[in-house]
Subunit: 187 residues, 2 copies
Amino acid sequence: MARSKQYNEEEVIEKAMGLFWRNGYGNTSVRMLEKEMGINQFSIYSSFGSKNGVFLECIKSYKKKIHRITEILEKSNNGVIGIKQYFYDFLEFSKDDNGKKGCLVTNTVNELGEHGDPIIMTELKSFFNEIKTLFANNLKQDKNKAQESIDKQANYLAASMLGLSLASKILRREQLEDFIETAFNNL
Amino acid sequence: MARSKQYNEEEVIEKAMGLFWRNGYGNTSVRMLEKEMGINQFSIYSSFGSKNGVFLECIKSYKKKIHRITEILEKSNNGVIGIKQYFYDFLEFSKDDNGKKGCLVTNTVNELGEHGDPIIMTELKSFFNEIKTLFANNLKQDKNKAQESIDKQANYLAASMLGLSLASKILRREQLEDFIETAFNNL
DNA sequence: CACATTTCTAAGCATTTGCTTAGAAATAAA
DNA sequence: TTTATTTCTAAGCAAATGCTTAGAAATGTG
């Protein structure tokens, strides 16, 4: 009954995600999105409503993408060893051609802080809490830990992941490994 | 021989710094700077050359401001205890009305990454290295440490500070304390 | 084929961006 | 007071921003 879309929405979002990941929200213009996504502004707006709409889909897509490694953590039963592995997995996951992308969620929290779109901020915080819960669940596998220390250590690890994400943008691989190794000496 | 400036450059930079600190570089416009600094665009450009020029002065001003607490660390001879105190001092230092500013240097590294103005990036990295050196110097005060472990631990602590800065923008005070306490457990 | 319906192209909208400029206002020195 | 020099006001510039729209091009269904 009518013409059909010449692009796949998931595919173009995947491309947009890369752009936001590298440049941040504010430094990515709709013109840049056009080029990267390979479709023009009309298509962008008819599919996603707004720049914000594109970004929201990118965050969702990011969550799916990173599920590749959160899934491993979820299924792990090695306690703190599994969490440490997640830190290393994250380094591989976030590696760019230059290895300087960090974590899209972390980057966005830092850029938009509390000023960002509420729907997006909710999405970001929920991701952060999911990760923290995964950490806590893994910590529980180490039987000798008190519940109280699990909460503290989950907070510690979650904040450390924020640090790793940021550090991965400016430190060398070797320094990042120092960080991870020392960070887990504490547990 | 001529009219004299009706504003003090240090004072207006101090105000600009607050704006950049809260909003980041990209989300701070020259119009916003006009209002906050209390002078108009002509004065901004004649004093500082460009938006980038204003920002560069703000970074320098930030370094002076934070010297209040780095100085304490510099003079401390409590080894790792002094560093831990610096983490707590930083939390106080970066506290806003809402307690969500983080560290201007860290925020900027995260926002601009490698895309930022080279002069500014150099300024940021030098600050990071100064802090790392201060950490290393303090660690050396604890006599029982091997040189090798000092390097590793200084890397660890520097990256942890990045984490604390980011975490301070989204976590509650109590969680930040969990982070600091656990981070220093085994040093 | 015919055509209703959707997607696409590309031009254009108002607003905001960083930055500049012409001319009025002020002021230290002669 | 006069005057040379600087600072200030406020208007304006081109380019970029997010978003919209009119009309051409395509296509599944009858």
